[in-house]
Amino acid sequence: MKPGVKPGVKPRAKASAKGSLKERIPLWAKGIRPRLILAFTAVSLLATIAASGASYVSGRRTVLTSEQNETIIGLRNAVDVLAPQLTMPPTSKDLAQLADRLPGFTGVTFQGQQPAEGNHLDVTVVPAELRTAVSTGLGTKFQRGIRYDRPVLWIGMPILRSTPDGKQERSGIEVYGEHDLGEAVQSIEEFSDNGWTTGTIAVPLAILIAWLAAEAVLRPVRRLRDAARRLADGELSTRLATPGADELTELAKTFNHTASSLETSVGELRRMQADAHRFVADVSHELRTPLAAMTAVTDLLEEETGLDSDTGRAARLVGSETRNLTRLVEDLIEISRFDSGTARLDRQLVDVGALIGQTLRARGWTDSVETDLPGDQVALLDRRRLDVIVANLVGNALRHGEPPVRVTVGTAGTSVVVTVTDQGPGLPEHVLPHVFDRLYKADTARSRSEGSGLGLAIAAENATLHGGTLEAANQPGGGASFTLRLPIDGTTA
């Protein structure tokens, strides 16, 4: 009882026309394990990148902003404190003094002029854009830029003066500061470095976890697959352990349920089938004993009674019908042996041509059958069963076909091929599929053929038992043709 679907053959994905990306994914990457690992790696990479990216962005903002704010506020507060002490209008020395006392690298101008002496910021290196903005506005301003390949923060602010009632105006003094952001940048870069370090640790770890996760997922899947394969091979008692309560366990429970229903119904069917087979076998056996007694005396009857008398005809009728009945019972027993699976092969090296010649001679068919039998075709076969097959095929051809009936032997690959052909009308199309059915009557008008009606079925069973095939067809020129193929070396494949 083998199902039609071979186990292990997966249905191909039908959506191959669309999704060109899917097609480009190599086959090895389509398993669950590589897909899980790819997904885990991608997720961990993404997470690493996102985390380090986020920390980088927020870190950059935090570091830069605090660095800038500290610098700007520090400078402004210092100016605020020192401004009231500044002499107005200031001399070049006053300006230099102020620049000296301010934190960081600074420069001070009054009405666009800066003191010549002292190690101060040369205000002309400050971007003109910022200087213009400072000298026309009333607020503190900054601008980032690059100086000598280093990131730099420039701050500019005018110092205002105020009337007692709070009206503010520019005093003509401007303070500029230059601040190096190199260290800040360095600490920002540490963030991204940390991100990469995390990534190089996280990605292999993710692959490992993915591997383990794939194992955990695949183990029950593999068990399920093996169980399904065993079930497909006919081991209907296959069951799966169902620990836990996850989806795969649900699937396993469903599988078990399916398997047990299948086992029950198949068992029921098999029991019924076995009962039917046993009944046929028992009936056949029971018929044998009375037939044995009858057979023992029919010859006697036929010889004793006169040829032309009514009793003589009656005795001959009884004799021939007893022999027909005996053949039917023997065929039934043979068939029931196939059904119960007790039919055995007795393989020997056989000269196929010679055996077929003997088969024909033994039945007195030598004159009515044309042959083409090579003398050297040897195969590992059961002599008796080959005889049964050939006798049934030739007998069938002689009964239902027209002469000449022809038997040929040849080879095709690792098979020995025996063909039996006749020149009759051939087999009607609707009969062809049923030619090997038991007790199938091709001609419904004739209620009873001379054969048992089991001959071709037995021939086919014998061919199958050898691991071979028996096929019926019609020849192009008319007439039926039966082709028997049996493996030469006896391998049942």
Binding site: R288, P290, A293, V297, D299, Q348, Q358
Partner: protein, 222 residues
Amino acid sequence: MLLIEDDPAVSEGLCLGLSRHGHRVEPAEDGERGLALLESLNPDLVLLDLMLPGIDGFEVCRRIRAAGSVPVIMLTARGDDFDVVGGLEAGADDYVVKPVRPRVLDARIRAVLRRHQAVGEQDQVRHGDLLVDRSALVVSKADTPVGLTPTELRLLLELSRVPGRVFSRQQLLELVWEHDFLGDSRLVDACVQRLRAKIEDVPADPVYIRTVRGFGYRFGPV
């Protein structure tokens, strides 16, 4: 001859049919009666049905074998492999499947009986310890006579006629059992086993009757 068969109809039919072919048949309806008649009657041959009430056919066959070398043809109603193999192991010389026409049965009986007849060539041939006397139809090993059934004797004579020549099972069936081309090769295998048990020192490692794998048997050469 003795016919041991429990079904009266079959028994009577076979007696009738066989007597037409010139055989004198004594029927017995079960094994015990059959074995009792065996001593008083001393038949040339026993026809033994395997399906018997009381002692079954296999056991009867074994007892007949133990008592002497009278040939046994078993009648099997089923023709099942189990019956055939069991009967051959118990020591049957041949078997026929019921229903059987008296004409066919007669041919088998005559073949078995012919095995007693002398072949009449060289009188005595020695093969190692084994002495085969073809005129007296006696086989002795290390000067001790070996009790062989007619079938076993005929098989040994055919095989030892040309030491070293290979016979296929089919050839032996036709030569010894006089079966047609569809004989059951298990008859040969069973008989070889019995023969080896009687003449070989170590039956599992035979010196006289050797197996030619995939083909058949040959005798020696010793």
